[in-house]
Symmetry: C2
Subunit: 190 residues, 2 copies
DNA sequence: GTCTATATCAAGATAGAC
DNA sequence: GTCTATCTTGATATAGAC
């Protein structure tokens, strides 16, 4: 996804995407209205619609930004990754745990939910990413079972956190993250 | 959730809930309209609103029915479960794999998505169930790490399938289910 | 590039007939 | 208990001024 070179301070585009992501978390995906987004971004409805001609365009951009963020986090982690077994799986799980679940970047969640609600086909690019991830895991894992389970457990945790359904305390979560690491390096017991 | 004793053929209520669940899968949660539900259920909008005075009431009933289905499937499986380690975790994962992911009962998914989109607070009862599940796992698991990971992996798979994001073939899925079973009985390797 | 104003439309909900 | 209007609201999108 290309867009004009906007060095310096945040472009309207970015401000709008930020506002939209926050809003979904606050009021729910189904209640995301262009007017509310415009207000939160400090813009009028007309100004918003100059940047994103339709609501679908806005949602699509939210999804794409999320995908790009995940991809770049993944690249960064791949640089620093220790060699060893199930490398790809370790990178994938750590990426998800860093971006989606843990931090402030719950845009991921919210963007996806908004898109799903509005138009399931907007998730097609995500489908593509997930498909590719599976291919890579299959091609490179030393212990595929452990790799898949670690990946799925991460997706599970991330999914619960997305929907604000996570029952885990900080200590619980810490324990889980460590267990996932252990699983992906040591495998399932005989 | 109590409702009138309606032996014999399906009550309007049930037909409406079925229709709503199917519709969400077909057209997306955000496009679930009362009119569409009414039509699919073979009713008019007025007739629908007699049974469920508001859209929230309809969504709430969808959620509750889903919770009840999961609970009763869980009870059934608990009866038949083999004694052994991590029993609760085995019951929980098998329940999820049977109900949510595998079969025809994708109501679960769809109901949840519709509710999330419309009003995140409608998921409160689900939050309660998940919280209780965690408590039970903590109280009864022989190997809590393995129990939690198996549960989360199941949630992850179920979440992908919910959103139609699963990249797994039937063989893949079979392999994963077996791996989850192995994890929950054998644990993580040392 | 952003604003105001407005057209258009569809959705949820109500009232009252049958 | 279900139907057919009808009301009301609010959301997307357009047109054209600044």
């Amino acid at each position: 996804m290309l867009f004009p070179c906007t060095r310096g301070r945040k472009s309207s585009r970015e401000k709008i995407l930020d506002a939209a992501a926050e809003l979904v978390g606050e009021i729910g995906a189904g209640r995301l209205t262009l007017e509310a987004v415009a207000e939160k971004a400090g813009l009028s409805k007309g100004g918003l619609l100059y940047n994103f001609p339709t609501k679908d365009a806005l949602l699509q951009a939210m999804i794409q930004r999320m995908i790009d963020q995940v991809a770049s986090e993944k690249e960064a982690l791949r640089e620093k990754a220790q060699p060893g077994p199930n490398l790809e799986a370790r990178v994938v799980t750590k990426t998800l745990l860093n971006i989606c679940c843990g931090g402030k970047m719950q845009d991921m969640a919210t963007g996806m939910m908004a898109a799903t609600a509005e138009n399931p086909r907007l998730l097609d690019p995500v489908r593509q990413v997930i498909h590719t991830t599976l291919e890579q895991l299959k091609a490179t894992s030393d212990d595929l079972d452990a790799a898949l389970l670690a990946w799925l457990a991460t997706e599970g945790l991330s999914s619960l956190e997305m929907h604000n359904l996570s029952p885990f305390s900080d200590e619980d979560r810490d324990r889980i993250v460590k267990a996932i690491e252990r699983l992906v390096t040591k495998g399932i017991a005989e």
